[in-house]
């Protein structure tokens, strides 16, 4: 059944083609159901492949299915081929699984939107690109998917493009990602230059048999990491992700939390044989960038007031954990956290979407409060998501985060300390969000009071809206995915329990793709227990502080909600200012150079030819006699030449 792997991306592609051909002629719910069916079909085929792979022996689980030659050009040969192995199928499982749920959810969420069918067209195209990215058996095909998801991300962030801010956010995401793409491309060139192939398995074979210089592999890894930084929103290229929340909430859940942003981490894990050949300082750098991003983003999330911005920074932070795991050589832990994160972060985003939907588009946490009784299902599932991301046992987030932290301790206790502080902050800001949204007094009714007096126009609008806001629970198409994801967030940890090697199912399952390159933990079980306990203490502390601050209101919340945190350490604005001032001047200079020197050389060649021609054309005066004279002179010239050359 493994050879059905080609079916997996075919379904979303078909869905996309049908939707784009039908265009506006499909009416509202049908387009959504069509897209959802395509995703469900894809999910079913992944399940079939998964079962087929389970039936195989462990060492037979890595197969390449080549469909056709794509680019045959001399030594450079690239196929359209799919690499089916436990890693790619695991990715496909949660991409299509969570994807199907989010498609279903979108039917309810996008209800009444004038571009309903366009939305689902993009969603299916996204799913197709993502699956190509994951299943591609060579770097170039992965890159094709990589660019495809980037384009879909752009299209969906600026989905409501009539609002200028949304269009700008889309552009920002696209351009920031180009920086990462540059790294990816340089890495690809280097790999082809040094290995003569772009196919993963061939590269790994060559790596095993030939000696490749350590500096080369290090540089390749660093360039791939630049690519991963862009897609997986690591410092300093994370800037686009918070703005990406301008898109519809299901997009945030699917693309900017569960799937696309994890592709950078996936790429690094995919090339793990190159990773282990690289110098230790480069993997150390990856770990530090990861954990640094985790802490940095978590600190920003503490002071955000937009419900989606909190989750966006939280996503950046959790991605930092995954990158930390990759840097520590804990590939299973990274994938494990990726899966559980896909469950609970998709759940949280969809929950936030449900709240926004119920509140008629209000996204400000300060305008929520007390929604628990009005939206029981949303509140219940959101609370599960909160416990999962905060890392409360036995929810899934606890297990995955704990494993990453253990590996961090194994590499360097300093990494672990930063990680544990991040865990505390995570618990705190999620508690803050849950309390502000679902507990306390309702604040959406008293909008337009003194608190908003500074902005009279806004207050007036809000005051009008305040009378009309009647929070309500969402339709079943939206709550069903919430419940399903909540269940997954609870039980997701079961696939990798740290108690004995037999409960570490995921690690065993991923072995064919990690080639035994995993770092081994050199920690006694008592150390592990202490680490887990300390992690738990930090989580409890975070939740405790959060509850006392926001529910009991015994601590002044101004202590935590510093303006500098709200402004994301002014990093974004500094970059904007730099790029707007000296940066744009520098680029204008580059553009001038291009226009004058590069274009000048091209235009100059043309001008020279034109000038010379205009002189030479005078000789073609149209008079037959002149031509005849030319022939005569030529003949005489030839005659003289011959006569002087031949000796008589």
């Amino acid at each position: 059944m493994v050879d059905l792997v080609w079916l997996i991306p075919t379904f979303p592609l078909l869905g996309f083609l049908i939707l784009i051909c039908l265009g506006k002629s499909v009416r509202e719910p049908i387009a959504g159901w069509l897209a959802t069916t395509a995703m469900a079909g894809s999910f079913l085929s992944v399940l079939l492949v998964f079962i087929g792979m389970l039936l195989e022996k462990n060492e037979n689980r890595q197969t390449v299915f080549t469909l056709f030659d794509w680019i045959p050009a001399g030594d450079f040969k690239v196929d359209i081929g799919f690499l089916a192995d436990p890693l790619s199928i695991t990715m496909c499982l949660f991409i299509t699984g969570v994807g199907t749920l989010i498609h279903l959810y979108s039917i309810g969420y996008m209800h009444g939107d004038s571009d309903f069918n366009r939305f689902f067209t993009y969603l299916n195209l996204f799913a197709f690109s993502m699956l190509v990215l994951v299943l591609g058996d060579n770097l170039l095909l992965t890159f094709l998917g990589w660019e495809g998801v980037g384009a879909c991300s752009y299209l969906l962030i600026s989905f409501w493009f009539r609002d200028r801010a949304n269009a700008t956010a889309g552009k920002k995401a696209f351009i920031t990602n180009r920086v990462g793409d540059w790294g990816f491309m340089v890495a690809m060139f280097l790999i082809f230059f040094n290995f003569g192939s772009l196919q993963y398995l061939e590269i790994f074979n060559i790596l095993e048999s030939n000696q490749i210089a350590k500096t080369t592999t290090t540089f390749i890894v660093l360039m791939l990491f630049v690519g991963a930084m862009g897609k997986s929103a690591q410092f300093p290229l994370y800037l686009w992700l918070p703005d990406a929340m301008a898109g519809p909430t299901p997009v945030s859940a699917l693309i900017h939390a569960a799937t696309m942003v994890t592709s950078g981490v996936y790429l690094l894990i995919r090339v793990n044989p190159i990773m282990v050949e690289a110098s230790t300082w480069s993997t150390g750098l990856i770990a530090w960038v990861g954990v640094g991003t985790a802490l940095f983003a978590a600190s920003i999330a503490v002071a955000q007031t937009d419900i989606k911005k909190v989750l966006a920074y939280s996503t950046v932070s959790q991605l930092g954990y995954m990158v930390l795991a990759v840097g520590c050589g804990a590939y299973t832990a990274a994938i494990f956290h990726m899966i559980t994160h896909a469950f609970f972060k998709a759940l949280l985003f969809l929950g936030a979407g449900s709240v926004i939907h119920g509140m008629d588009g209000e996204q400000d946490l300060r305008r929520y409060g007390g929604l628990r009784s009005l939206m029981p299902i949303t509140a219940g599932t959101f609370i599960i998501g909160w416990l999962a991301i905060a890392g409360v046992p036995p929810f899934s987030g606890f297990w995955s985060k704990d494993e990453i932290l253990a590996f961090a301790w194994n590499k360097s206790p300093l990494l672990w300390i930063v990680g544990i502080v991040t865990a505390l902050l995570t618990a705190f800001y999620m508690t803050r969000q849950v309390v502000l949204t679902f507990f306390g007094k309702p604040r959406y009714l008293d909008a337009g009071d003194a608190g908003d007096a500074g902005d009279a126009g806004d207050a007036g609008d809000a005051g009008d809206a305040g009378d009309e806001i009647k929070p309500h629970e969402s339709p079943w198409t939206m709550t069903l995915p919430l419940v399903a994801l909540a269940v997954l967030s609870v039980v997701g940890g079961l696939i990798q329990l740290p108690f004995s090697s037999s409960t570490k199912w995921l690690e065993h399952w991923l072995e064919p793709a990690t080639f035994h390159n995993e770092t081994h933990l050199h920690l006694s079980s008592s150390t592990l227990w202490v680490l887990a306990l300390l992690a738990l203490v930090s989580v409890v502390a975070g939740i405790g502080i959060g509850l006392t601050t926001y529910l009991k209101e015994k601590i002044d919340k101004q202590i935590f909600e510093k303006p500098i945190l709200h402004n994301a350490w002014n990093f974004d604005s500094t970059v904007s200012r730099f790029m707007g001032g000296p940066g744009s001047k520098a680029f204008a200079a580059v553009a001038r150079f291009d226009k004058q020197v590069i274009d000048g050389a091209v235009d100059g060649t043309g001008q020279i030819v034109k000038k010379t021609a205009s002189i030479l054309r005078r000789t073609q005066n149209g008079l037959v006699r002149t031509y005849a004279l030319g022939i005569g002179i030529g003949a005489i010239g030839l005659l003289i030449w011959f006569l002087t050359r031949t000796t008589i």
């Binding site: 005078r618 073609q620 006699r625 004279l629």
Partner: protein
């Protein structure tokens, strides 16, 4: 005094020069054609005389080719001259320079 090959070649050279000069100085298309014929026939004479000098039939063979080509050329050339004459009554070769660069 026997007439040696040199004489024939001299005659051919004189004819060729007359033809060339005529082609360069005259402007009447018909005269120019005749000059070209003169040149061609000068070449024919050299072919034949050298051929007989070397006792080789190839020279005479080449003459036939030249004659055929000359005939074809005259047919096309005269057709062109007739066509041009229909459009403009009095004309010389220098008036037809609209294809100049």
């Amino acid at each position: 005094m026997s007439i040696t090959t040199t004489w024939y070649l001299l005659l051919a050279a004189i004819l060729f020069s007359i033809g060339t000069t005529g082609l360069l100085v005259r402007r009447n298309p018909l005269i120019m054609f005749m000059c070209i014929e003169l040149m061609l026939n000068a070449v024919n004479i050299t072919f034949v005389s050298i051929g007989s000098h070397l006792n080789d039939l190839g020279g005479q063979l080449a003459v036939f080719f030249v004659l055929v080509v000359a005939a074809a050329e005259v047919v096309i050339g005269l057709a062109l001259v007739v066509a041009i004459m229909r459009r403009r009554s009095r004309t010389n070769a220098d008036d037809l320079k609209i294809l100049g660069g």
